[in-house]
């Protein structure tokens, strides 16, 4: 286990300076995510244009992995259709959990920086919380998402 692989420069940078941090008001949809294990809480806001995500923002507090992951997510999903977001989520999930990751790193872009997380199984939930929360927002679910 190499800490430098978990806390890559991209992760450290997005934790210190999260992108798209704040509230979208008005938002077409939002959802709350909560990880009871570590107390991470975030709210994800999206504005849609037809089937595509026009804008995404988040606010909340959490560990470096969860904040950086949410920050990277908001950058990655803008302009994408629901189907494209779902595909991206699948790729991220594979990246976080599979050792022989077959996901195409070029398709993941900066999200590939989360690859070190798979060596730290206890932290996978931190990285995936924002993605589950995005799904909930897209489903217009109002109930908080839990990783437990």
């Amino acid at each position: 286990m190499d800490l430098k692989d978990l806390y890559r420069d991209v992760i450290v940078d997005h934790n210190r300076h999260p992108r798209n941090f704040g509230k979208l008001d008005p938002a077409d949809a939002h959802a709350d995510g909560f990880n009871p294990l570590c107390g991470d809480r975030l709210t994800l806001y999206v504005n849609l244009e037809g089937d595509r995500i026009r804008d995404a923002k988040f606010e909340g507090s959490g560990c470096a992995i969860s904040v950086a992951s949410a920050s990277l997510l908001t950058e990655a999903v803008k302009g994408k259709s629901r189907a494209e977001v779902q595909k991206l989520f699948d790729d991220v999930h594979t990246l976080l959990t599979q050792h022989d990751a077959s996901a195409d790193p070029t398709r993941l872009g900066k999200l590939a920086a989360l690859g070190g997380v798979r060596e730290f199984p206890a932290r996978v939930k931190c990285a995936s919380l924002c993605w589950h929360t995005l799904n909930a927002a897209l489903d217009r679910a109002s109930a908080p998402v839990s990783t437990e």
Partner: protein
């Protein structure tokens, strides 16, 4: 461990550590530093061997057979009860009820003592530093009865506000349920004066002793409490076993909490007569090996002496507090003048969960999160803390390892 470190105390920690096989291992390539004792302690070899011996030689069901093994198992199980009685100085083994742990003990009192007595408008008093196990069972019983939960506030140092307690206690109060020692902050609650005041109002008192029993002398008669709850696994014993101490007159008046085998004297479809104390509260085949292991853990602690353990742990706590306070950006949460060996803290710019991961790569095990005390986290306006909780088998050198690992975390992320 250098001689210079050893000379700080006459406590032979090196010898004690040899009794705990689990401590002698590498984690992530570094010698393990186990500082998560408030979550669960480790076991000495004598406890592990006693459980093995029981299963290899003496196991049968208790209170049931006339055969030799059943008699041996019963003798060991009931003998353990006497050891535990002596440990907390209860008057009688009738006051020592085996349960799964502190959580079950509190739920038992909530459902069997409080529930039949509570009426709408009655009040149960707890404090703001309680573990969820001393909050949720009371919320449940309040929902069931229409009673209300009243919460004694705490101060910024993490002390229970006695003046506020005096204002809250009153004619509607039916029970005071307090932590003896806070798991999240380490505060030792001066329970004696709370109990004395509750007694003036003739209000029974339950103490959650999960964090007190492993670290100090506990005498339930001197405390004059009515219920005292603790778990074996935080005091060198097995998981899945703990104790409810209850004043005999109260236990006698309480209905059974679970029905089944062993808790009855006679059963017909018309009427069942319940067993005597303490078996009235022990339905079903109990955790026999757990009780035996717990008693061996008690004897191990008694062999060293609780007063010596408390004195050494206090030295460790003072050292850890001073060393951690020297780390830039580190804030200690819970600064009561009288604390058990727990240091909860946050670091500027680093989430506790990241602290936990970074420390783990250095072989240092601490708890991170809300410590089953979310209201405490809310009070201090932190989402979580990192918590180093020390036991008498920890060393000054291990605290130095913690400090070095925290400095590493700070350089990496802050």
């Amino acid at each position: 461990m250098s001689a210079a470190i050893d000379s700080r105390t006459d406590f032979d920690v090196a010898r004690i550590r040899r009794d705990f096989p689990i401590l002698d291992q590498q984690v992530n390539g570094k010698p393990l530093v186990y500082l998560d004792n408030a979550a669960s302690s480790q076991r000495p070899r004598s406890v592990i061997e006693a459980i093995d011996y029981y299963y290899e030689h003496d196991h049968a069901n208790v209170h049931r057979g006339v055969h030799t093994l059943s008699q041996r198992a019963t003798d060991a199980y009931e003998g353990a009860r006497e050891t535990i009685r002596g440990f907390i100085n209860a008057r009688s083994t009738r006051e020592i009820v085996y349960v799964r742990g502190t959580t079950e003990a509190i739920n038992l009192v909530a459902q069997s003592y409080a529930r039949p007595r509570l009426k709408p408008g009655d009040e149960i008093l707890i404090s703001a530093l309680e573990h969820h196990a001393n909050i949720v069972p009371w919320q449940l019983v309040c929902e069931q009865t229409g009673a209300q939960l009243k919460v004694i506030p705490i101060s910024q140092t993490g002390e229970v506000d006695f003046a506020a307690f005096e204002r809250l206690i009153g004619p509607r109060t039916r029970l005071l349920a307090l932590a003896h020692v806070s798991n999240a902050l380490g505060t030792v609650v001066p329970v004696a004066k709370f109990i004395a005041r509750a007694k003036q109002h003739k209000i029974p008192v339950l103490l959650d002793g999960a964090q007190a029993v492993p670290h100090s002398v506990v005498d339930v008669q001197a405390l004059d409490c009515d219920f005292y709850c603790f778990s074996a696994h935080k005091m060198l014993g097995p998981t899945g076993i703990g104790v409810l101490y209850g004043r005999e007159s109260l236990l006698e008046a309480m209905p059974p909490w679970q029905g089944g085998g062993d808790m009855i004297l006679s059963v017909t479809f018309e009427k069942t007569t319940y067993n005597q104390l303490p078996w009235k509260f022990e339905a079903g085949t109990p955790h026999i090996a757990g009780a035996i292991g717990m008693a061996v853990a008690v004897r191990y602690l008694q062999g060293i002496g609780m007063a010596r353990i408390a004195a050494y742990e206090h030295e460790l706590l003072d050292y850890a507090t001073a060393q951690l306070a020297g780390i830039s950006g580190l804030r200690i949460i819970g600064t009561a003048p009288h604390k058990a060996s727990v240091v909860s803290f946050t670091m500027a710019g680093i989430h506790p969960h990241d602290i936990g991961t970074i420390l783990d790569t250095e072989g240092v095990a601490v708890r991170t999160g809300h410590h089953c005390a979310m209201p405490v986290m809310d009070f201090f306006e932190v989402p979580a803390t990192a918590r180093a909780s020390l036991s008498f088998y920890n060393t000054f050198e291990e605290i130095d390892r913690l400090v070095a690992a925290l400095e590493h975390a700070r350089k990496l992320l802050a």
